[in-house]
């Protein structure tokens, strides 16, 4: 048991590094860029708060677990801004290698379990993963709306591009959420 605990604590200390991974989106008061650790907390709180908008059958506690671990691979692979350019294949490989390294810090049974949960999130096919992806895409939109445009301004993103890159994924998890969000986005762009 002490050996298992040592492995678990090593994983948790390694996870601390996610707080030093910077994202493209900023805090809602625009004081600084958000990091992937606090983003992970925020999206888990999104899932908890917006649970009623998930499709029937979605198990919100599994969604929350997914969101707690969904960005850990960025410790090695970094954050790839959704509106930035990146080599999708190279990134996927780097993330797979990061998952191999990070989850294997854990005792084997837990490592297998967490890896399976991360793989499920990445595959974005199960109802739980689809809703997790939906709130993960929603949160930076809300941050940008709150701080006057944020990464949309930095990356010169149009309303149309947001609909394509973000809308489809949010809508897949919850049409109602996207409907509401689309109204807010249109209002934001009309006011610019």
């Amino acid at each position: 048991m002490s050996e298992r605990l040592s492995q678990q604590l090593a994983f948790l200390i390694e996870a601390d590094k996610l707080k030093s991974v910077s994202r493209a989106s900023s805090l809602s008061d625009n004081s600084r860029k958000e990091n992937s650790g606090e983003h992970s907390w925020h999206v888990a709180l999104y899932a908890l708060t917006l649970a009623e908008h998930a499709e029937p059958g979605v198990r919100i506690d599994r969604v929350i677990r997914m969101l707690l671990i969904h960005d850990l691979v960025e410790i090695d692979a970094g954050d790839a801004p959704i509106h930035g350019d990146h080599d999708a294949e190279a990134l996927a490989l780097a993330e797979q290698q990061a998952a191999d390294r990070l989850f294997s810090l854990l005792p084997t049974d837990t490592a297998v379990e967490m890896r399976a949960l991360w793989d499920e999130f990445e595959a974005a096919q199960s109802p739980d993963a689809v809703f997790a992806k939906s709130v993960d895409r929603m949160q930076p939109v809300l941050q940008n709306l709150a701080n006057g445009g944020g990464s949309w301004v930095d990356y010169d993103v149009s309303e149309q591009q947001i609909a394509e890159r973000v809308g489809a994924k949010v809508a897949r998890g919850s049409p109602a959420l996207w409907e509401h969000l689309r109204g807010l986005i249109t209002a934001h762009f009309s006011a610019r």
Copy 2:
């Protein structure tokens, strides 16, 4: 439904401010102080990872939900360092007022539910709350061990004071966790 969603999004944008509340403990690489948003993510991951060390009957997903919301009141009341001096009565009042304000941003049913969960955490009596408190106290210990002393150095804290202020609460949630941690703490202080 759109009215409910507006309330939920207002709550989530308000929650963003937790990322700007600074704590006494530092990141494990000592690069800066930790904030309460990323701390909330980290302790939720602690609960998920260390679930097997909880007493039988503890529902880890409820523990995780508690930990996601446990520090929200700090948006108004600030973080009270465990090794610092503070007026416990005034702080408790400020936190109650913060809970009143923050949770009431939500639709009434969700507000009542989340407030009950936060009250349960604060009361620290139910098995779920006791385990949540246990990992909440553990995490800064691990941060301090990783970064060479951290807030123990800043506040001139002795091994004996850690045992009194932290040990009892960690041990209440899991004697095995405290046993292991005590060994690490003793090794740290012997090596100074």
